[in-house]
């Protein structure tokens, strides 16, 4: 096989970064992954089971991490300081003066979850029984039992959709597209653990667009009798017993609705990271109106940034499921490979 050996730096050791590292390695390139945390895996490492088929997230992640070998170098606790380039060589500076040189840089920094305390009327950080979808998932991962702040099994749990998504007042107009199915998956999980607990979903539109997602919706209704109320939560208040009073418009019934709930789970939207802004301002990588990276062509080339030699993959170009994130990472690897092949300074090995 005719191969060329080039250095590629991947910023971000989440699913996209790991998958791209594996692909690029198989294409014959040397890869260095710079991960800001102590361990690779990104948000997947805090995930219990994957929708729509309840596959263990941990199992998937283990398989991905096993592939880090040979010419893949993983550097953890790496804080990116600067990216510079001279000719075709990119220098990625991190921590205190450390630097790696490469001929291509893949940005796979993923996303942040919306800061729920910005949506103050929902009471996150103020009322004890308001938690986020990430906190709930983490409870599942750590096998913690789901109890209210006073240690009781909740009689009713309400899921709130679109927290930080489709909300101009929260600063984010886009649909995060993954929260609907996440909420339904988590609601089912609660019902499986606590069959006696009443679970209801406050949604605006259920966007169950992936394959078999609708089946999950049906399962929630058919098997678990989860209630779906079409109305965005307007505000919540705390009852003297620290349970919550939810106020919304039950739009299909055409009347305002007040519901008492023992716990409230906020399904947080996907928002851009601080790194997005930094890349945009300091390295000229184009940012869309939603704050995520904009590739050079929204259809034909979704992985090349407009800045030559910089590539993007995964949820850092907008919310994606794991399935699409991995596919996107493989697609990016191919784009990088083509780029390195075209590069005139190619040092072709036989």
């Amino acid at each position: 096989m005719r191969a060329l050996k080039k250095e590629v730096v991947i910023i971000g050791g989440g699913p996209a970064g790991l998958e791209a590292a594996d692909s690029l390695n198989k294409l014959g390139h040397a890869v260095t992954i710079l991960e800001k945390e102590e361990r690779p895996g990104g948000k997947l490492s805090n995930w219990h089971k994957l929708f729509p088929d309840n596959v263990s997230a941990d199992g998937i992640l283990k398989q991905m991490i096993q592939k880090i070998s040979g010419d893949i170098h993983l550097i953890t606790n790496a804080k990116i300081r600067k990216i510079s380039h001279e000719g075709k060589k990119y220098s990625v500076w991190f921590n205190e003066g450390q630097c790696i040189q490469a001929e291509a840089v893949l940005v796979a920094v993923g996303f942040d979850l919306f800061n729920a305390s910005l949506k103050e009327e929902y009471g996150y950080g103020i009322y004890d029984n308001v938690i986020t979808s990430a906190e709930l998932e983490s409870m599942f991962v750590n096998q913690k039992s789901l109890v209210t702040a006073t240690g009781k099994t909740p009689g009713r749990v309400a899921f709130i959709h679109c927290v930080g998504s489709r909300d101009e007042k929260a600063g984010f107009r886009h649909c995060s597209s993954m929260c609907c199915v996440t909420g339904v998956k988590q609601a089912i999980e609660i019902k499986k653990r606590l069959p006696g607990t009443d679970v209801m979903m406050f949604y605006m539109d259920l966007r169950m667009h992936g394959r078999f997602y609708e089946d999950l919706y049906l399962e929630a209704q058919e098997k678990h009798h989860i209630q779906f109320i079409r109305g965005r939560l307007s505000e919540s208040s705390e009852n003297p017993d620290s349970s919550l009073l939810l106020k919304a418009d039950d739009t299909l019934a055409g009347s305002p609705i007040k519901v008492r709930a023992d716990m409230m789970v906020l399904l947080l939207g996907f928002v851009p990271t601080d790194f997005h802004k930094k890349m945009g301002e300091e390295f000229g990588v184009e940012i869309g109106s939603d704050g995520f990276f904009s590739p050079c062509d929204s259809h034909l080339d979704t992985n090349s940034a407009k800045t030559t030699g910089i590539f993007v993959a995964g949820a850092c170009t907008g919310a994606k499921s794991l399935e699409y994130t991995l596919a996107d990472a493989r697609s990016a690897s191919l784009k990088i490979h083509e780029f390195l092949l075209r590069s005139p300074s190619s040092n072709i090995l036989n």
Binding site: S117, E120, E121, G125, E168, A170, G171, E238, P272, S289
Partner: protein, 609 residues
């Protein structure tokens, strides 16, 4: 009898002016409401009249307030007003010294140089000539500056100056002509007949050869008289109506008759006609930043006077009160606007409020009214509850599940009468509670409870209440090293005068970094409910721009004391901790006083887009 036909334009103008002024002022006086009229009667023969006269001297003539804004601008106004005033007064003395009678027709002192051309044996005449020439020069310097200002307002400390209506422009042009024409007439007279001092005689000798003829002599006096007459006739229909009206407004204010009724009454007329459209307030208006540059108070008042109001001037206003602070005449722009918005015939139906249960199942000492906006910022409500508990106060929530609006938003929209159902229901609620103190977190509610509800119980904003609890030693607090800035909400600061209590609180809990835009000069957050026109994008733009200006360097936290300000600032997505003062207090309570470290406030880290 000393008379010439050319005095007619001036005399007719003067008579017409007085007739119109008297007609208007009588009507407005009759339109004063009984309370305002009583104040006039009560204070007419007191020292307040003297202090009013002093203020007229300082403001209408010397323009002290304008001088404080900008010296040059102050000089310009003073030279025109005080200079002209002195020309008239000294002219009368001069006339008296020549003709020994005070009963001359009014045109004699004005056209004195025409009627007294010959030099007299009286040595005082030379002095008079000098003084009058000097005063004319003084006024002319003002005219020159005024003309220069039209082109270069920035030199006068103003970024923007008002755009005028045609009637105002005619009046302005005529006004600028009066004094050059007087100079011309007196100089030609001096050239032909001698007399005058350094200015008129100096210019006269230049004109002697070809310009100063019998024809130009007569023509110049006619021109001067016509310019005066025209100006007098234009005056009541132009912005120059402010000249006589401001004098009356100052007196009314000193007599304590300017309390607003909320409707268009005599006071509104006096206030609105006292606006000279000088434009000094324009730079203070934040809506200028959005390109809304024809809706500010001077335009509102001008179009009100001209009876050509549009929706934009009336409604597109934050009613932040910054123009009121900037106004050198002291016009109550907010009250006047609210009166102009007043609409007693608007149709509402709030009968359903009758069914709201106002009973209490406890008898609290303190009633806490969170307010509509605070229900959307539960961090404030929860902090207040924590504070009440820490101070061991017997309190109750007034509007937890019977949340009735205080009525102020409706009043600000001009529907003050229609807010009565809300006012009555809330009053019933407060009375039934038996509480002695009503605490509210919303400055909008606070203002209306205090000013419109006529409550028997004490109304207090939570900043005042917390300050009191701290002074009474009821709160056990620790001081942090945090650097915070404080934003004065419009309704609490400028509108209610509460500046010190929040600062007392902050100074004992953190390090306060004062911002230049503080106290009376505080900016509006942009979220004002008084403006029904602005789009959400425009409000956000205002909020972002305000944050730029009010948050000093090295400040981690912005503290405010209004739920609406907080909500508006937070929704900009700016990465800054923005909290209410109640939250700052609850955060700094010692562990002994609160069961947990209250509030996991997170620094806003999401990227703003």
């Amino acid at each position: 009898m000393k008379f010439n036909l050319f005095v007619l334009p001036f005399t007719i103008g003067l008579v017409v002016l007085f007739c119109i002024l008297i007609a208007k002022y009588v009507r407005w006086f009759l339109n004063l409401n009984p309370e305002q009229r009583d104040s006039v009667k009560k204070n007419f023969l007191t020292i307040k009249t003297l202090s009013g006269l002093k203020e007229i001297l300082l403001e209408s003539l010397l323009h002290r307030n304008i001088s404080k804004k900008n010296r040059l601008l102050g000089y310009m106004h003073m030279s025109l007003a005080f200079g002209w005033f002195l020309l008239i007064i000294v002219g009368h003395f001069e006339s008296y010294s020549y003709f020994k009678t005070a009963m001359e027709p009014p045109y004699i002192p004005i056209f004195l140089r025409y009627f007294q051309q010959d030099a007299l044996a009286d040595p005082l005449q030379v002095v008079y000539w000098f003084v009058m020439d000097f005063l004319l020069l003084f006024v002319l310097s003002g005219v020159a500056l005024a003309w220069y200002k039209r082109q270069n307002q920035k030199r006068f400390g103003m970024r923007k100056t008002t755009r005028h209506l045609p009637a105002d422009r005619v009046a302005l042009s005529v006004l600028w002509l009066i004094f050059p024409l007087r100079l011309l007439a007196e100089s030609i007279t001096s050239a032909l007949y001698g007399g005058g001092s350094f200015l008129t005689s100096g210019l006269g000798s230049l004109l002697e050869n070809n310009i100063a003829t019998n024809l130009s002599f007569v023509a110049s006096w006619w021109a001067y008289s016509i310019s005066l007459g025209l100006f007098f006739i234009c005056l009541p229909f132009s912005r120059y109506m402010h000249i006589p009206t401001e004098v009356i407004l100052i007196m009314l204010r000193n007599w304590g008759a300017t309390k607003y009724s909320g409707k268009i009454d005599g006071i509104t007329q006096f206030e609105v006609h006292s606006c000279s459209s000088c434009g000094i307030c324009l730079d203070s208006c934040q809506l200028m930043e959005l390109g809304h540059s024809n809706i500010q108070s001077p335009y509102l008042f001008r179009n009100f006077r001209a009876n050509r109001l549009t929706d934009q001037e009336v409604q597109n206003c934050l009613m932040c009160g910054r123009c009121e602070t900037a106004c050198v005449v002291g016009i109550k722009t907010n009250s006047a606007r609210q009166a102009i918005r007043h609409n007693s015939s608007a149709e509402v139906n709030h009968d359903y409020l009758r069914h709201v249960d106002t009973s209490f199942n406890s008898s609290p000492d303190v009633l806490y009214f969170a307010g509509c906006m605070t229900h959307l910022t539960p961090g404030i409500k929860k902090s207040m509850q924590t504070i009440f508990k820490a101070a061991k106060i017997n309190y109750a929530l007034a509007d937890e599940d019977r949340n009735i609006c205080c009525g102020r938003p409706m009043m600000l929209s001009g529907l003050a009468d229609q807010a009565a159902a809300m006012v009555n229901k809330n009053k019933e609620l407060f009375e039934k509670s038996g509480a002695r103190t009503l605490v509210t977190s919303c400055p909008i509610c606070y203002k209306v409870f205090r000013e419109e509800y006529n409550l028997d119980i004490e109304v207090i904003h939570h900043t005042q209440y917390i300050d009191r609890l701290m002074k009474e030693g009821k709160l056990d607090l620790v001081k942090s090293e945090e650097h915070v800035a404080y934003h004065d909400p419009c309704e609490l600061g400028r509108s209610s005068g509460i500046y010190d209590e929040p600062r007392n609180i902050i100074n004992s809990l953190a390090n306060l970094n004062e911002t230049p835009a503080n106290r009376e000069l505080a900016l509006c957050c942009g979220g004002s409910i008084a403006n029904i026109i602005l789009t959400s994008h425009e409000k956000k733009e205002l909020a972002l721009s305000a944050l730029e200006k009010i948050v000093p360097q090295n400040t981690e936290t912005l503290v405010t004391a209004c739920p609406l300000c907080k909500k508006t600032f937070v929704s900009t997505g700016k990465s800054l901790k923005i909290i209410d003062i109640a939250e700052l207090v609850a955060e700094n309570l010692t562990v002994g006083q609160t069961s947990r470290k209250f509030g996991k406030f997170q620094k806003v880290e999401s990227a703003s887009i």
